[in-house]
């Protein structure tokens, strides 16, 4: 396996050829914010939070997708990128119904954390206040579509880790919605194994454990990481 060197934020970094910029940066201790990306799941490239500037490239590229190249010069934290990241987070807040004070995931929510990271002190856009459903038909879990940011983590975790592919996406644009099976109530799903990996992967309070009340949900992300490490790196350290 060959190794390439590149600079990320002025720092000389070596990386395996074929690695993404995100992997290379994280291994070098440079934090690029991400939202739809989860270690061990395929990259999605939809949230656009991890966009970086590459010298000589007219387009911004998602760090989770873009492969490293020899001599590449990457900027991950410019004024322009910070502005874009904040706008994108504001768009997400305006698009759904994200009311932290009544959310099960308050204090344990990656969207909330991201708002703090990008310095979002208020939302400049109109709240759309969409009318979305809540599906409580499953015996252990519920999904509140009002809090869904359509990151597809649940879809990828269910498909790639559990192998059930219960979740998928229906509709398009602002009418997109994650569904179980052929848009049937989750509780009636024939394929769901009730493993809870979608719950582990969900960044917000959208997929939650029944019985949790405000600020009680703590997504057991460590479990997901354990599974991924066991599968990909054959490491079983708890």
């Amino acid at each position: 396996m060959s190794v390439v060197t590149l600079t990320i934020d002025g720092k000389l970094v070596s990386a395996r050829a074929g690695d993404t910029i995100l992997t290379a940066a994280r291994e070098a201790g440079i934090d690029i914010p991400t939202l739809c990306y989860v270690d061990g799941l395929s990259a999605h490239g939809g949230c656009r939070i991890c966009l970086v500037e590459i010298a000589g490239s007219p387009r911004l590229q998602p760090a989770c997708f873009m492969k490293v190249g020899e001599g590449m010069e990457v900027q991950t934290d410019t004024e322009r990128l910070r502005g874009y990241r904040r706008t994108i987070v504001e768009l997400l807040f305006a698009e759904g119904n994200h009311v932290c004070s009544v959310c099960v995931a308050n204090g344990g929510c990656e969207l909330q954390d991201m708002a703090i990271t990008v310095g979002m002190d208020h939302d400049r856009f109109d709240y759309i206040h969409p009318k979305r459903e809540v599906d409580l038909s499953h015996e252990r879990f519920g999904i509140d579509h009002n809090r869904c940011i359509l990151c597809t983590r649940c879809i990828r975790a269910c498909d790639e880790l559990e192998g059930a592919h219960t979740w998928d996406m229906a509709g398009r644009g602002s009418h997109s919605k994650v569904i179980t099976d052929l848009n049937e109530p989750w509780g009636e799903s024939q394929t769901c194994t009730s493993c809870g990996k979608c719950f582990m992967a969900c960044p917000t309070g959208s997929i939650f454990q029944k019985g949790d009340t405000v600020a009680e949900t703590d997504h057991p992300r460590a479990k997901l990481e354990f599974l991924v490490n066991a599968r990909e790196k054959k490491q079983w350290n708890v």
Partner: protein, 559 residues
């Protein structure tokens, strides 16, 4: 099938031609105006009048002047002089009713023709070129023999016999042809890239998912001359080393789908597609894939996902399809019109093709002229033709005394070019400089009754409805842009809303995943650039606080 067989079919078809030919347009535009009944009546009348030995009736494709459909053309030999090469006279009839059709046939027996005569000497026809549309309105799209009689499939034979794949690529590169789908990437370079990328299998894909509002170039080509596209794809397959082609055609084009099915079956039956084409080792088959009504599936990565049976959403590039396309294999993706150019380029030579157009934009381009203009329809002109010539000379200017204000080019990814700049030559780079694009060829003429904010909002609504929802800036950003434009249009906005509109346009343009989102702000940005006064005329004065009626701090201070 050998070349002699091909020439035989062509010769038989030419011999069977009758002295007089009535050509009736059966492309979707004229059919929807009733040309089906006209065709039936023409055929019935020829039979009833006993003219079947003298007059042939052909169901042809688009005759270009769509606004005057149903269109019928009559070719007759010149009466006096006679002899070989004495030429033919051509007559155009427009807005033909079934009763008019009867009278056209009666005209051959000295009856009075009641149909409205069109003017083939008018600038609309005289100023046009014929490369891509050379057979349109001449060959019968459902009869392969007519295409063969028009020298069809001879380029494929020549390529298979006389050219190495590398020479075909070289010929395409020398022609200077650039992709006609909108991105204008040099076709030869793309072919060379796919040819050089290693892969145990390669694919040729034709993008026929034309979705821009007001654009129907590809539909017309597919409905009028489908074999030209098949031949172009087969030549591409030989050049890059593929033996499987897919045409991804939108489901909203049922007639194009049907004619492609017919064309593929006919070509297969004659051995012009399939195994050992012209007794060479080259195999090539073409299958159709029908879209299910998503504009985003015209984006190449989404299109490939859809062909593979997945949800039609884009993925980030790189990797490009040329390297990692259908099922991970090198894939050549071109537009219908790009493939339609190929047989002609190889028949007449790259130098001939490169002599048309401008230095950086070679060849001709088909445009769909629509909107507030007298002559709407299909227009083919050499690249570099000034916009004024297309809109005012070919298009005939504004109807009913209106004033043309702008032309929208490139659909929801393009922009508006104001009338002051109509001397701009229509080519890739000059339109890009004006913040628009040539796109796939839609041209919507706008007059002084069109509010440009409304135009911008219309296209934003289109992008909002067609966003696939995968990436946040396109999914949520277009919703907010649409709200801002609505607020401005309804007179509820202030100067700060325009500022926010511009800022958000910048975000959506630069952070969206695929071309749909990246180009969605273009109509808004270009109307802001050239028609800012129309935005400003709709704004309320003052700051938001003042508009809400809150007292100003200075006003409440004691004197």
């Amino acid at each position: 099938m050998e070349l002699t067989d091909l020439l035989d079919i062509a010769a038989k078809e030419r011999q069977a031609r009758l002295p007089h030919t009535i050509r009736c347009c059966t492309a979707a535009g004229c059919l929807s105006a009733g040309s089906g009944a006209v065709l039936d009546r023409l055929r019935g009348a020829v039979h009833d009048e006993g003219l079947t030995e003298r007059v042939g009736v052909a169901a042809v494709g688009c005759l270009r002047l769509c606004c005057q459909g149903p269109l019928v053309r009559v070719d007759s030999p010149v009466a006096s002089g006679g002899g070989e090469g004495a030429g033919i006279t051509e007559e155009l009839y427009q807005r033909v009713t079934p009763d008019d059709a009867g009278s056209i046939v009666a005209g051959f027996k000295g009856g009075t023709v009641t149909a409205n005569k069109g003017d083939l000497k008018s600038p609309f026809f005289q100023l046009q070129a014929s490369v891509i549309l050379e057979n349109s309105g001449r060959v019968e799209p459902e009869r392969i023999e007519t295409y063969i009689a028009a020298e069809g499939y001879q380029s494929l034979h020549r390529v298979l016999r006389n050219f190495t794949p590398a020479e075909v690529v070289e010929e395409m590169t020398r022609s200077g042809l650039r992709g006609r789908g909108g991105a204008a990437y040099p076709t030869g370079v793309k072919w060379a890239t796919v040819a050089k990328n290693p892969g145990e299998k390669k694919y040729v894909v034709c993008n026929a998912d034309e979705g821009d509002p007001g654009a129907f170039m590809n539909r017309s080509v597919l409905e009028s001359d489908p074999h030209r596209v098949l031949e172009g794809m087969a030549i591409a397959g030989y050049a890059i080393g593929a033996n499987q082609g897919y045409i991804y055609v939108r489901g909203e084009y049922p007639l194009a789908v049907q004619r492609l099915h017919t064309a593929i079956a006919q070509a297969g039956r004659l051995g012009l597609l399939g195994s050992h084409i012209f007794s060479s080792p080259f195999d090539f088959r073409i299958d159709l894939r029908t879209g299910a009504g998503a504009f985003v599936c015209g984006e190449e990565t989404a299109l490939m996902a859809s062909i593979m049976g997945q949800r039609g959403t884009p993925t980030p590039r790189p990797p490009y399809p040329a390297e990692h396309g259908l099922w991970g294999m090198p894939t050549l993706l071109n537009n219908v019109e790009t493939y339609a150019n190929v047989p002609t380029i190889l028949r007449r030579g790259a130098d001939w093709f490169a002599s048309i157009g401008t230095e950086k934009s070679k060849g001709t381009k088909v445009f769909c002229l629509t909107g507030k203009v007298v002559n709407t329809g299909l227009v083919e002109v050499p690249l570099g033709t000034p916009l004024r010539k297309i809109v005012h000379d070919i298009g005939g200017g504004a109807p009913e005394g209106g004033t043309i204000k702008a032309v929208q080019t490139g659909g929801p990814s393009g922009g508006c070019i104001p009338a002051e700049l109509f001397d701009t030559p229509v080519e890739y780079d000059s339109l890009a400089k004006l913040g628009s694009i040539m796109g796939s060829g839609g041209m919507i003429v706008l007059d002084d009754k069109n509010n440009m904010v409304d135009v911008a909002r219309y296209f934003m609504q289109f992008c909002m409805d067609e966003s696939c929802g995968k990436c946040v800036p396109c999914r949520a950003g277009t919703v907010q842009l649409h709200r801002l434009l609505t607020r401005i249009l309804e007179g509820r906005a202030g100067a700060e809303d325009v500022q926010q509109l511009e800022a958000l346009c910048d975000v959506v343009k630069h952070t969206s995943l695929c071309g749909l989102g990246q180009a969605a702000p273009n109509p808004t940005l270009s109307t802001l650039r050239f028609f800012r006064h129309e935005y400003e005329a709709l704004l309320k004065p003052g700051s938001p606080a003042q508009r809400m009626g809150l007292p100003l701090v200075s006003a409440s201070q004691p004197r």
